[in-house]
Symmetry: C2
Subunit: 635 residues, 2 copies
Amino acid sequence: MLRTALGQMEVIPGRPDLNSRTILDMIEEARAQKAEIVIFPEMAIPGYLLGDTWEQRAFLRDCEEYGKSVVAASRGICVLFGNVGVDWNKTGDDGRVRKYNAFFVAQNGRLVGGEKYPYPFRIKTLHPNYREFDDTRHFYSLRKLAQEMDMAVEELLQPVAVEISGRCLKLGCILCEDGWSEEYNVKPIETIHRNGPVDLFINISASPFTLGKNNKRNRVFSKQVAAAGVPLLYVNNVGIQNNGKTVYTFDGYSTVYDADGEITDYCHPFSAGLKIVELDLSASAKKRPCVTVPDDRDIASIYKALHYGASKFLSAIGMKKVVIGISGGIDSAVSACLYSTVLEPENVLLVNMPSVFNSRTTRDLAAGLAQNLGCWYTVMPIQEVFEYTVKQIGRTPVVNPNNNSEFNLNVSSFVSENIQARDRSARILAGVAAAFGGGFTCNANKSEMTVGYTTLYGDLAGFLAALADLWKHQVYELALYLNEHIYGREVIPRKIIDLVPSAELSPEQDVDQGKGDPIVYPYHDYLFRAFMEHWNRATPEDILTWYTQGVLEEQIGCRPGLAAQLFSSPAAFIEDLEKWWKLYCGMGVAKRIQAPPVLAVSRRAYGFDHREAQNQVHFTSGYQKLKRELMKEIG
Amino acid sequence: MLRTALGQMEVIPGRPDLNSRTILDMIEEARAQKAEIVIFPEMAIPGYLLGDTWEQRAFLRDCEEYGKSVVAASRGICVLFGNVGVDWNKTGDDGRVRKYNAFFVAQNGRLVGGEKYPYPFRIKTLHPNYREFDDTRHFYSLRKLAQEMDMAVEELLQPVAVEISGRCLKLGCILCEDGWSEEYNVKPIETIHRNGPVDLFINISASPFTLGKNNKRNRVFSKQVAAAGVPLLYVNNVGIQNNGKTVYTFDGYSTVYDADGEITDYCHPFSAGLKIVELDLSASAKKRPCVTVPDDRDIASIYKALHYGASKFLSAIGMKKVVIGISGGIDSAVSACLYSTVLEPENVLLVNMPSVFNSRTTRDLAAGLAQNLGCWYTVMPIQEVFEYTVKQIGRTPVVNPNNNSEFNLNVSSFVSENIQARDRSARILAGVAAAFGGGFTCNANKSEMTVGYTTLYGDLAGFLAALADLWKHQVYELALYLNEHIYGREVIPRKIIDLVPSAELSPEQDVDQGKGDPIVYPYHDYLFRAFMEHWNRATPEDILTWYTQGVLEEQIGCRPGLAAQLFSSPAAFIEDLEKWWKLYCGMGVAKRIQAPPVLAVSRRAYGFDHREAQNQVHFTSGYQKLKRELMKEIG
């Protein structure tokens, strides 16, 4: 039996001092529990999402030093951990000192595994450079090293031999993406196994939570493990890390796969701690019972990630209090409920900021919500300053000082709407938050973010957009989940859920008359998702093709028959499609550039993993041809 | 003689329809001018900085189609151009369809060069994945392809043979970074030459302007060309492209290097057009006279890039009018002058927004500036709404609806300062801009951006931060340059240049008493630059090391003796250093996440090339040791 400890630690990005302290404590704990081997995640010492901090040589030296302290602590126990491996004598492709995303194996105060290998650590082979990952910018992969050494990368994929309790064990040491090799022509698990034999695979990861990823990992890893017939331990960190525009939660979910690829144990998600696992690596090992891993694609998983992410983000930036503008609408209500699961009521301040366009209905709903949550509440109307601003802008003469010509600016109703939105956020909420000693939240959802149906410096402002990775229908789902499962009572009044979604910035958005947003969420949520989240991103050409083929709803996943119901003609369908595509590629981009960080839960959140430029809107020639044909048929 | 046309075209990113139109027109022009060969830049059809548009299959098909129209137009002329090369049967590392950054050679309606090569186009070998470049995310490099094919990359680096006027010419076809191979272990020019013979090298590029880059290119390219003894044509595009957070200008500067590596001709920077060049490729070629390329590191180059960039950005986003808040200070004055070189006076509106803290001095200077520029001008004071806001926030009771306890928020003087800044931008300027039918500018400079000495939704707001890649001392330089060289008169009143820089948000920032910003620009500009721009980014550990060694000023480039003059003791030096480092890594990051796009001129601008995370501030153990020693010496 091999007594193993999975070190599912919280990694604080950029703090090798704190992380090595955590590791040293966990090593002590593992030793006390008689573990023979203890495993920590990828980049456990520096953290993973650090932006360009990797360019600071002093930081690299620091990580090396703290790494040495971990190696020194490995007396009597085998310690496996991720850190940056630096070759001070070589450069990367950018000419800076060469860095590897590395896997260290330490035993009795020394590094193990450097025999017949260019370094005393193993190197990550596959570097993800898609999604939120940026490995290629900073690290030199084993693939590049092999090419430089004029070798096949396969020759370098060898197990590490360690002696544990008098027995030689061959470990297949891989890092994160090395286990996700489907799309690569290099297959680390398969190759190391072929170069083996291997007794145990160990995948150390720094892998953010996104919906459905664990389910997929279990499928992908199980298959490879079963093919190799060798157990695998997966160790991932918890905590949050961000790359500026997007905040990722790390759920850990460290997992034990047996030689058949079945899961026999796992660590609780979003929970730091050491887990002891007894492994029988002998040929005669008795089959252990399998466990079932919960599905991670439901609203409960979303809630868990958002709750954890918001909580950790607040502590990471040292924010203890939040201010939330509540309109009586669904987004701000869900936001208020979410933060109320994270902070004590005395640290949450809800602010309602009515103008004449806000109905009694929504103002009462806002007050009711505040009462249900029991947090601080205040009403600060914007009407007076709004009117003052409209007058100041419209009545102050604009002059040409050289010829004394002058004119007055015209404040249209559209301009007035945005004045209200900015007055709420930039004038009141920002001031209130500063006076309260905290930050104010951005309550925008993903549907609004997609097409810029938000006001810059208005409702798009805030220190974090915690709901901006949820489509509107998911915001509703979350509302119901919060009421039913978290609060166990109707903390969000039912009427907020039933009300037509509206910005209430003009008489045209009167909720009491059932008037509201121009976005028809049951359809547009799915259209926007096709633009934004589909792996092969849909464009108007794809959408129109599906529409003409009668498979649109099936392809985008909305309710069958919806398009026909909403659009009386192909011309109306096309008009709607072009309008939103232009907003998504145009004003939406301009606004997202200045939007707050988004808390990610989906497979693709706005920010670093949705790279975009403020470029001109383009319709492909294929689209234009389809459109012409469709219009001709009608004409 | 080979009659060659350099197609220094303006590339519109994301518009293959427009770009292929430009190419077709230029081919016609080249043909009319009897050119035998015409060359267009890298990614001339799709554009280069497109974010994740590369994931849209319809867009890829579109680029292919437009590419075919260019190939079809190559009757009687050899056409060289960059486009995306798609292999629909293979995938990239991300599992999406495989894309190459490709070099196409077309002649008589057909592609040339596919013999003994896996594709009918050449593939970029070296993929920059540093700075603002993101090639690895989207494209499969020749290095990866070679590894997949189990070949040495060198075997694939072969010239392309074309027949021109009955003579076989061997062209060394490379793309951009392939010419910048110093840091790579693959050397495309050297290798293709060795695999040759080669008659002519052609480097097609999409290379943004940054200060000093052309000077460096000329050194790097000349050296390789001289070693090979073969002439090289460098063709780069003009226009602007952006990646959301950062806007890059492309200066073209297409260049002819003779067989000795000397420059015999070049295209005017920032100017689109076809240039005809006669090349003698025979062994007995007579040496042509060399030309001198102007230095591109001076303030004139900065001005040229900013003027071009601002102008092109306005037309790219369809903005015809701008509103500029002018305080009577230097940044807004330079911003107003810059935009006045781009737009007619009737499309520029300057707004002065005084509170009681704004001196008569600066208000008069603002009015004087407006008069000098002859654009629209208005004064909209913020005092009333500012006072109203302070009262509204401070006097509206905050209640707990459950127990009716209540309290009042306290609006401190610091909170008041930011209220003023936001009132100016989010209330007045945003409203005025919308009513005027344009956008409002962000006038922040790089020094402020570095440490977040700006107010979010206040002076950090705007549609573009045109001066945010200039250190404060460069803003002054630009002011002098504008007066002297662009306007030829004192359009920026001398007093604005001489005045102490100040935010004028409190009595502590009274310019008439010589009080102003906490940043001592002659020192901090250089300290911040060391943090941010140095290739090996400096951290407090480096700074303190240099300080103790007495080489600080030399290392960071500021005036000798300045540190001793500013800081009476090491303790004072350390306090200052830690204060700004914390702001740079802390609040500065949070603000930059929501900052407007920055117009880049330096080797490193904020945005996509300064990747950063909202992480905890870290001081390395090396720094802490140095600090302890230094403080002990004193104690």
